[in-house]
């Protein structure tokens, strides 16, 4: 995952905020000079920092956080705000013919089957536009419309979301022969502006929801779905009593089972069984 930040020294502070910065900076510098001493020097220094921010319109904190309040220098067609958002590059190799892998992906409704956070994809009759429903952070329902903007049969599909999306996104998937009968290389490039911007992405990363890991796992499920026909699972299989159940057992008469534990079964002693 790469967090995209705008370049240094491109103004990223909005007009009103720049004015406020200049005023606050002037006031702080003035008060600092009048007060004298160390605290005065500190205030004056902070004041000049605000002055610089207001005059140049560039804020280092905004840059680091991938955030801006200024108008973006871009035309109305762009999906992702200029120089912002998250970029993910992931790839997998699938041991199936390229035509088959492409055809599976091109039927966009199949994508909900292996993309964990996507609940449904509905293709419009023109087969270029589609409606997406996904689960966002905290199980928030997010929706968007997307359109395919470029497509080369068997090689490339590129898309972008349409205005009014909950998660503006754009991306492409490339299909190539791995060669020597090794199947198809699938490369995904995805750029999107997550809810909460770059800060949101940082928070998600802290809680294990790293976007590139999610996409990698999605691609792994696609690979398994196409190669093995089924997705392996252990959900619903049998297991013995868990730790929580063991705690419960202390409060009721447990089923009679044969047990031997470290305590009940020292190497020097005969096994102590409870029947």
């Amino acid at each position: 995952m790469e967090i995209i930040r705008h370049k240094y020294n491109t103004p990223n502070v909005g007009k009103v905020e720049r004015g406020a910065s200049v005023m606050a900076g002037t006031l702080l510098t003035y008060l600092g000079i009048r007060q004298k001493g160390w605290s005065g020097a500190g205030m004056a220094l902070l004041g000049t920092a605000f002055l610089r921010r207001g005059i140049t319109g560039f804020c280092y904190s905004y840059q680091a956080l991938g955030f801006r309040t200024s108008a973006t220098p871009q035309n109305g067609n762009a999906t992702i705000p200029y120089e912002l958002g998250i970029r993910v590059d992931e790839a997998t190799t699938i041991n199936r013919p390229r035509s088959e892998v492409y055809a599976f992906w091109r039927n966009l409704e199949n994508l909900a089957e292996f993309m964990e956070h996507v609940e449904s994809v509905r293709m419009m009759p023109d087969l270029r536009k589609s409606h997406w429903v996904a689960k966002g952070p905290g199980n928030r329902r997010m929706e968007w419309d997307a359109e395919i903007i470029n497509e080369v049969a068997g090689i490339l599909i590129a898309w972008r979301s349409l205005p009014g999306s909950d998660v503006p996104n754009a991306g492409s998937v490339h299909f190539a022969d791995a060669g020597a009968g090794r199947g198809t290389e699938v490369r995904v490039e995805l750029q999107y502006n997550p809810p909460g911007g770059a800060i949101g992405a940082y928070v998600a990363k802290l809680f294990g929801g790293e976007p590139s890991t999610q996409i990698r796992n999605d691609l792994k499920r696609l690979k398994t779905r196409l190669e093995a026909g089924v997705v392996p699972t252990t959900e619903g299989q049998s297991a013995g009593s868990t730790r929580a159940e063991k705690d419960d057992e202390r409060h009721r008469v447990s089923e009679k089972v044969v047990t031997a534990s470290e305590e009940s079964f020292p190497a020097s002693d005969a096994p102590a069984y409870t029947h």
Binding site: T224, P232, T234, S238, S261, F265
Partner: protein, 387 residues
Amino acid sequence: MKAITWHGKKDVRVENVPEPKMLNKRDAILKINLTAICGSDLHLYHGVIPTMQVGDILGHEFMGEVIEVGTDVPNLKRGDRVVVPFCIACGNCFFCQNQLTSLCDNSNPNASTAEKLYGYSSSGLFGYSHIFGGYAGGQAQYVRVPFADVGPMKIPDSVSDEQALFLTDIFPTGYMAAENCNIHDGDIVAVWGCGPVGQFAIRSALLLGAARVIAIDNIPSRLELAKKGGAETLNYDEGDVVDKLRQLTAGRGPDSCIDAVGLEAHGTAVDAIYDYAKMAMKLETDRPHALRQAIQACRKGGTISVPGVYGGVVDKFPLGVAFAKGLTFHMGQTNVHKYLKPLLERVEKGEIDPSFVITHRMSLDQGAEGYATFDAQDGCIKVVLRP
């Protein structure tokens, strides 16, 4: 049904658990005829393999009778008597199609956990921690077998349950270890560890044409069984192993060395004690004492074959020795699927009777006792359990 479940270090229990259900159309359910405790199960018993969860059903060596098959399992029907490889393989991925079934891309549902540790994930395994899929094992009355159209092999009536059981793991594991030695005419093979895998490695090396096999251990009953299998024996309590091997090979060193011990090696040398201390302090996860010795003893240009299980990080690994002597390393989980048919043929022809390794026959109810007996090692080489 009854099953042996894991509850912590040296704490396994026979519990009543729900019977397995079909979860996929490529699944089958078996009624277990016979199951065994593997040396690698003792690593779980000692709590040195991470990602075990309380209540996990153990066991990856089992054979039995098919009682239910999914719609996509055309090769099996109710009543078939089958043996099942311990590694689970899809049969469709690059690795499966190149006979590297223990490296299957698709059978581990927890692959992303394994990838964090190992870069890439190997196949799912029955009853062997959640990093290898968390599949319920076969030390039970019934087991679910995923990808049942690929793994299970039918056993002819002429082969008994006890003879077929070890095709799941230890016979192919010992055989692959010997095959990895790339044995030539006149070769001398040294085998560290005369547990079940070591015993099969000894016999397999001789089947594959080794001139001599030298077996190393310190348990008299195990050395005795190795001798019966045709090996010369070397008790590591009675002198320096590297020096003795030099004498036994007239100064050349063994052409190939098999480490059938793995991450919990015992020993009395300085480095072995160092490993105990570091492992106790969690500074090291594996104790590679046997492997270090094998690297030291091996002849120049020889092969080190490692069927013994390693799980994490080793310390003081003599890579410089291996480099200076131009050694070749072969290792990894066994690609059992590849060996099922050829080894069954050897059993049918009477070239080997794998049941020679059994020392203890118990009921599944005695599972906890079985683990403790095997762990104590005294006179115990292989425990089989009948549900």
